[in-house]
Symmetry: C2
Subunit: 204 residues, 2 copies
C-alpha cells in the first residue's frame, strides 16, 4: 500500500507518519521509485504499537525507540532482551545516590533474586522512597502481601510464555509494557467495587 492508505488505515495524520519515519520508529517502505514506496501490514501494526506505547503506556518516543530496537533485534537471549526493555519503563531512577537500601530490604524479605543492576531494582527503590517521602511508607506487611500476589501473577505470565525464539521476545517485551495499564485499571476498578461494598449504604 502507499502512504495515503497507511494514513487511512491507522487514522494517523500524514505529518505524524512522516515524523515517525524521520525518527526511526517506523521503518521506511520498500522503494519502488525515486519518490514512491510500498508499505505493508507490518507498518500498520507498528504504528498501532507506537501509539499504544505512547498514548496508553505513556512512554516518551526515545524509550519507545529503544523498546522497538529490542523487538527488532532481540539477540538470542530472551532474558537480556527483557532486561533492556524494562529499562525503558518509568520511573527512571535518579542518577545520584546509587544506594538501594529500601529495594534491597524488600527483595530479601520477599526472597527474590537480588541484582542491583536490573532496572526494576532501581525503579522499586525510587517508588518506595517516593512513597516514604510523601508520608505513606509501605509497611512490611503490605510489601509481603503485594509481593506474594504479584509473584503469583508473574508465575502465570512466565508459564504462558511461548518457547524461546522470535515471537517470544516480542510478546514478552511488548506485553510487559502494554499489560501494565490493564493491571492498574483492574486494580482501580476492584478498589471501587470493594469500596462501594464497604462505604455505600447497603441499599444504595
Amino acid at each position: 500500500m502507499r502512504v495515503s492508505e497507511l494514513v487511512r488505515r491507522t487514522g494517523t495524520p500524514l505529518a505524524t507518519v512522516k515524523f515517525y519515519l524521520r525518527e526511526g520508529l517506523l521503518p521506511a517502505g520498500r522503494a519502488t521509485g525515486a519518490t514512491q514506496a510500498e508499505y505493508t501490514e507490518e507498518h500498520v501494526r507498528r504504528i498501532a504499537v507506537i501509539r499504544a506505547l505512547s498514548d496508553v503506556a505513556g512512554l516518551p518516543l526515545a524509550k519507545i525507540r529503544a523498546i522497538l530496537a529490542v523487538v527488532d533485534a532481540p539477540g538470542d537471549d530472551l532474558f537480556a532482551a527483557l532486561g533492556a526493555a524494562v529499562g525503558a519503563l518509568p520511573p527512571y531512577p535518579s542518577p545520584e545516590d546509587p544506594a538501594l537500601p529500601r529495594a534491597r530490604a524488600a527483595v530479601e524479605r520477599l526472597g527474590l533474586h537480588w541484582d542491583p543492576d536490573y532496572p526494576a531494582t532501581g525503579q522499586l527503590e525510587r517508588a518506595l522512597a517516593a512513597a516514604e517521602a510523601a508520608g505513606l511508607p509501605i509497611s512490611d506487611e503490605r510489601l509481603e502481601v503485594y509481593g506474594r500476589v504479584l509473584g503469583e501473577l508473574a508465575e502465570y505470565d512466565i508459564a504462558g510464555l511461548p518457547p524461546s525464539g522470535g515471537p517470544a521476545v516480542e510478546y514478552a517485551v511488548l506485553g510487559t509494557a502494554l499489560y501494565e495499564p490493564v493491571l492498574l485499571a483492574l486494580r482501580r476498578l476492584a478498589h471501587e467495587d470493594r469500596a462501594r461494598r464497604r462505604l455505600r449504604p447497603p441499599g444504595a
Copy 2:
C-alpha cells in the same frame, strides 16, 4: 521557617518553589509582613508529595493540582473523593467513541459492579483496546487471572483503610497514586525472578 529553609529542607530550587506557589500547588505561607511569610512542616511534606506524584507517578501538574484539591477538601464522601482522584490518573480515555465494549465484557466476566461513569472504566477500555490494536489482545483466561489476583489486592487495601474521616481520604487518594509504581516495580522484579529460573541455565 522562611523560604530559604524550605528550599534547603526539600532540595527544591527556589525558582521551583515559587513556581509551585504561583501554580496553586503549594499554599502560601502565613504572611508576617508585606514581604515575609512563614512556612511549616506541612509545606515540606506537600512539596515531597508533589515531587512524588510528578517524578515517580508521572502525573502532569494539572492532574496533581486536581488530586491535591480533593485531598484538601474531600467533602464527606470518601467514595466520591476516590472517584475524583482516580479520574486524574492515566491513561486518559479518548473523548470520541464513548462505547465501552471491552471494559463491559471484562467487568461482567469478573463479576464487578458496572458503572460506565467511573473513570477506571474508561481507563480499562483504553488499555484493553491498545493491547488489542498492538496485536496482543488479553485473553479471557488472562483477564480472569488478573482480575482475581488484583481483587485480592484490593480486598487487602480496602480492609486496611482507616475509618472514615479526614486522614482516610488523604491516605486512600495518595495511596492509590503512589503505590502503583511500587506494584509495577514488584511485578517486573517478580518477572525477572521467574524468568531467570526458567531461562537461565540452572548453574548460571
